[in-house]
Symmetry: C2
Subunit: 566 residues, 2 copies
């Protein structure tokens, strides 16, 4: 089914299975669309709770079956999840940090009972096999590739513009009536699920000096993204840029195009997104994507993204990430992709693989920690945005009005020198030469000023932009957490209403504790990296600033020396 | 007669003598006004040739008697002569640098004959005894003191604003019909005058390495202007600021108020203005003239003015200047003033005291030199104005937007530090302290940036402003010169027409040569001082600039050192 952006009123049929949903577009055509690209948000109590971005994970967090009778809106996201709009906006609406969350909550506050029929079923935990092969899917992919994104440092469209607001989520709002198939629980899916698949995946959490931490490998993996090359397929009809990635573990380079990074992002978001903030990739761009400046900037950012993923013990150790870095050949890649797409331990179910090596946490402490993290991430988000704003202004000034001023000073001094030379008076030469040199010095200073932001401010901005992206993930994560806290709080009530057993209640509390350990481990990972990153970037910034001003001083000193003492 | 600014249509009666003129104001009142304050400009051929500023000297350069039948406009200048409007404007109108000049020229090109009755008479060469004593004159003076001038660096009225365009000349335009008394020749007065009073005043010009030069004293006089004190008279009803001036020759301080400086200026302008550029004093100001900032700025500028006058061998050696610097007591002062005001060797007659110790110059060379100086002073004037404009813009930027930017950066860093402190994570302290320190450093830098112009740009601006003032005098001086050249060129024609004798023609050529030596000596003096001044001010500017950038670098280096290497 061909859907255009922002089409309305799709009647959803049953979940066909295999991750496909029957839908009807505004032209009345009925067909299949991949679940993957649908963002479902719930209209409850007349409030529109569409969560921007996060195309993949949200269907998993739909309200329970009982809410199906409520009308649902489905947003079809055709682009990667982004933090376009301010993810904190709903937060702001409820500063008390109560049970409001970005996630659709169960409006009726009841669970539909044990073993509630999940219309998604086991298969629905997975994802449509969107990247199966050529043909229809590739066509879909290519249309997707054509989506233009419009972010950048500034309206003036600086080359290699930074991802300021994230990509514009190309969302479609589709009103859904009487949809029987869609029902997702929030964290309840995990809190009350029966079988914990004891797979080989185990993610331990230890309690260290700073508190709960992931298990970090002895040697941290890293990789180098380099050597962008133009590749093509279909006899050169389709072109793309390929990057070479060389992991430090194997030292064997692999090639990936942007589309692959995106696939990896989606997989990571699926699998870990409920517990770990997975920041967006650098922007998609269609026009000008073969331009040298853009390719260079994109590569720099893919490098940053990959390094950050490498730093995370859970992500870097995951099968899908390892596949990305070390696949042997095309066959290996395709098989690995299919396997990853079939992974059922996704969404909130990731918590089933996490094993805190510590005693269960008190729900009160869980709530306190949650509140603390919520406040901190919000405050840091504000602060980071302030730095980005100020930095942007400063960039503009340093590359515009300020160099112009120094140029004018330089020109004025040189003009004076020219006039003096025409005096016909003897003994002018030293002064006029010195004046000319001074004028040229100021013109050189103008040049230095204009080029300086690329040497220092650039990195400060990039780092803060990365953190803006990271911080933008937290409302969702913390939202899941708060929903779980609320669910557990209702424990007694639910037992009394015979919705759950007493054992269920105990299980929920224990599982909440696991979630909390996860969040704390994640925060500690975040803090640790934050301190490292900001230390590094500030040192680099100040070092370059020192060099900058010292260079200017040296130039002026030299100009000064050309004037004789009379 | 009380005249308001810009009153029109005054019918001038006879020259009453003693420097007073009968005039009628727009209300029909008839009375006396001091010649001193009248600027007469001639309406010839329908062209309005009002020369801005120069209240005193212009009446002496009126056209000859034959032009009296032309209607004359009289501008009443109530303020000191200034370079308010662009003195080069008429120059621009005639770029060929022909016989156009700011001075009213003889429209009929004829001299009225030997011993032409000069309505001003010997007495008219002098000046109204405007400063005779209390009473009417003081009243006039005080009204004059009340004239507000409105110059400054910028529209925003910075304290101690620089004289940008000079004072607004408060000119009155008075149309004069059938005025019999006023007639002044241009340079003809000197070129053809009979008696050369061989007074004791002798101003020799020698030919040195650079060309014609004045005779410079062995030790250059200088003086210190200091210690502004509030004085008063009339039992405290009138207040003024007195400055102490201490010449290096006597080391005995004398006191003078602004009014006295102004009197001195007028005397120098009278006496030497046709040959030597006498720059204007710093502005008059009424409101806020007791404010500390203003007093300090005015003193700085009076110091600059006095020093420049001291540097000139002719000016510093003159009786009037010596009187100003070394008068013994009040009686001495008053007597000296009266004597100076009676001096008849003023205006173009100053050339009678100049004695070049060299052979007469070829008129062609005279013209070439004149042209060269004209071009140079014009070009330098343009260049100086460019520097003033650029400097003004830079001043605004350095005291406004730029510090603000650094402040914002500083605040943003400190905010980030505050957020980090709230993380609850161990091991934040070093980073947050370093961030706070970095933020404070940028706030300190903001302060440095805002205060820097006063340390370097200020002096560059002051010097260029002084030169703007000096250069503004040249159109007049060169105008006199060109008029003389033209007159001499007409020599043969005048002889043929029996207007002058052959001997007159020879005399004129010889006297033109004297004028040229004067102009050349003056240009050499100007160049010499120019090179000294610009060397000095540029060194000072660059030295301060070096210190500025080095200080910033040092601060940033210190801030950098607070971040640990991890």
């Amino acid at each position: 089914l061909a859907l255009a952006e922002n089409e309305l009123r799709v009647n959803m049929g049953e979940n066909i299975g295999g991750g496909w949903i029957e839908a009807q577009n505004s032209r009345g055509e009925v067909g299949l669309v991949p679940e993957d690209y649908i963002e479902v948000s719930e209209k409850t109590r007349g409030k529109d709770k569409i969560s921007p971005g996060r195309a993949v994970i949200e269907p998993l967090l739909l309200s329970s079956l009982s809410s199906l009778t409520a009308s649902l809106c489905i947003s079809l996201s055709l682009s990667q999840a982004s933090n376009g709009n301010d993810p904190w906006s709903t937060w702001n609406a409820d500063p008390s940090g109560g049970s409001n969350s970005n996630w659709p909550s169960n409006p009726e506050g009841t669970q539909t009972g044990k073993g509630a029929a999940d219309p998604w079923g086991p298969a629905s935990q997975g994802h449509p096999q969107a990247y199966q092969g050529p043909g229809k899917f590739d066509e879909w992919d290519d249309e997707w590739d054509e989506t233009k994104s419009t972010s950048g440092y500034s309206e003036s469209g600086e080359a290699g513009g930074l991802q300021r607001g994230g990509t514009q989520a190309s969302s479609m709002k589709i009103s859904l009536n009487k949809f029987p198939g869609f029902s997702k629980s929030g964290p309840e899916l995990y809190l009350l699920c029966k079988q914990i698949a004891k797979g080989k995946e185990k993610l331990p959490i230890y309690v260290g000096e700073v508190g709960p931490v992931w298990s970090y490998p002895e040697t941290q993996i890293d990789c180098i993204v380099a050597d962008p090359k133009k590749g093509s397929k279909m006899y050169g009809l389709k072109s793309y840029i390929e990057y070479q990635i060389t992991p430090t573990t194997t030292n064997r380079p692999v090639n990936h195009r942007y589309k692959h990074f995106d696939w990896l992002y989606e997989r990571l978001l699926d699998k870990f997104g409920s517990a770990i903030p997975i920041p967006s990739l650098p922007d998609k761009q269609v026009t000008g994507r073969f331009e040298e400046e853009f390719i260079k900037m994109r590569m720099e950012r893919l490098q940053g993204w990959m390094s950050r993923m490498c730093r995370h013990p859970v992500i870097s150790g995951s099968d899908v990430f390892q596949l990305f870095l070390t696949y042997k050949d095309e066959k290996d890649w395709k098989m690995g992709k299919r396997k990853a797409e079939k992974d059922e331990t996704v969404g909130v179910m990731i918590f089933t693989t996490i094993e805190p090596e510590a005693s269960d946490l008190d729900p009160l402490e869980v709530e306190q920690k949650c509140e603390q993290f919520s406040k901190f991430t919000k405050a840091m988000d504000d602060s980071v945005k302030e730095i980005l704003t100020v930095g942007h202004e400063h960039w503009k000034r340093c590359t515009g009005p300020l160099p112009k001023e120094y140029q004018r000073i330089g020109k004025a001094l040189q003009n004076l020198s020219t006039v003096f030379t025409s005096s016909g008076y003897q003994g002018e030469a030293t002064l006029t030469n010195a004046l000319t040199a001074a004028g040229q010095t100021y013109e050189e200073i103008a040049q230095l000023v204009a080029e300086q932001p690329k040497k220092d401010l650039h990195f400060l901005m990039e780092t803060n932009n990365e953190y803006k992206g990271l911080l933008g993930c937290f409302p969702d994560t913390i939202g899941v957490h708060k929903a779980a806290i609320d669910k557990v709080k209702e424990g007694d009530k639910l037992v009394a209403a015979n919705k759950i057993t007493t054992q269920d209640k105990v299980t929920m509390a224990k599982r909440l504790s696991t979630m909390s350990y996860t969040l704390q481990a994640e925060m500690n990972h975040f803090h640790n990296n934050r301190i490292y990153d900001y230390n590094r970037v500030m040192q680099q910034y100040l070092e370059e600033q020192v060099k900058f001003y010292e260079t200017i001083a040296a130039k002026l000193r030299q100009a000064h020396g050309q004037f004789t003492t009379m």
